[in-house]
């Protein structure tokens, strides 16, 4: 047996396997799995974000109600309005969800 036989057999086997595996649709299956996981993630983040925003939106006006009673609140004008602050907070939460949705976070 020549010294290089095992290595050449290994190379030949790899070349044979490569040809057999090239077109068996594996990459397509991976893409489908990737899309399924992405959709699941979007549904989950979307649902949790919507529920969270609804709950927060309902509570935040109460929470921020105290802001308008603080000294100097009149200088903030409309921005001291609890509903305005709650809207900004919910908009911020939606922006974070939109940022996280494609998989950045």
């Amino acid at each position: 047996m020549t010294a290089d036989r095992p290595i050449s057999e290994l190379k030949d086997a790899a070349a044979r396997d490569m040809a057999a595996l090239e077109g068996d649709g594996f990459a397509m299956r991976v893409l489908l799995t990737m899309n399924r996981r992405r959709q699941r993630r979007q549904i989950m983040i979307g649902s949790l974000g919507a529920i969270g925003s609804a709950v927060a939106g309902a509570q935040l006006t109460h929470l921020f109600g105290a802001v308008s009673t603080l000294p100097g609140a009149e200088r903030l004008g409309a921005f001291a309005d609890p509903e305005m602050i709650a809207s900004c907070a919910v908009a911020g939460a939606v922006a974070i969800v939109a940022w996280a949705m494609p998989g950045r976070a």
Binding site: I7, V30, M34
Partner: protein, 193 residues
């Protein structure tokens, strides 16, 4: 004209374009699966690991600094998946030691005409040796690239390659001699990495 790997990686990093990544996956999935199949000896498990490696590569492509070929980076993720899976498997076996001990000592099935086939010879190598000769000899990576994939020093990888080739040669020589009816030494024992 088709895009290079480098261009596709930049496109996917900028846009998270799934079809661009699909093209990268299509180009490199066969090499990755061959690597993992030979390494683990279990085709189904290897394909699961390859799929997980590709999904992790897509999710983490923003962290790829393009200081190596995409293929090298992908194989590195695959190798890490394999090592994690091997550790899980080892823990599982530990829990079922008595049952597994019997199966452990059964040699891999012989190839046609009783010859020690390549898979059987490969089974005698340690994981490090197996990975190194697969990457360098079967998949055409340089020693430096193999070192990146294995996250090991270059000298260690060179040693793995040299020792892996020697042990593979020994195992196949011994079997050939045994097949010819001549006395021959046993193939060297596995392990080492």
């Amino acid at each position: 004209m088709s895009m290079s790997d480098e261009e596709l990686v930049m496109l996917v990093q900028a846009t998270r374009d799934a079809s661009g990544f699909g093209e990268l996956a299509r180009r490199h999935q066969a090499g990755l699966r061959i690597f993992l199949r030979r390494l683990s000896g279990d085709f189904d498990r290897a394909d699961d690991l390859a799929q997980e490696a590709l999904l992790k590569a897509f999710n983490g492509i923003g962290r790829f600094r393009r200081d190596a070929r995409f293929k090298t980076w992908l194989y590195r993720i695959g190798y890490r998946e394999f090592l994690q899976s091997a550790r899980r498997e080892a823990r599982r076996r530990q829990a079922h030691m008595e049952f597994e001990a019997a199966a452990e000592h059964q040699p891999p099935p012989a190839g046609p005409d009783g010859a020690l086939d390549l898979s059987r010879a490969m089974a005698g190598l340690g994981d490090g040796e197996k990975a190194a000769i697969l990457l360098c000899d079967a998949l055409g990576l340089t020693n430096e690239e193999a070192a990146k994939v294995m996250d090991a020093p270059l000298g260690t990888v060179k040693t793995y390659v040299r020792r892996g080739r020697e042990r593979l040669r020994e195992a196949m020589t011994a079997e050939t001699a045994a097949g010819d009816g001549k006395p021959a030494g046993e193939p060297s024992a596995g392990g080492g990495a």
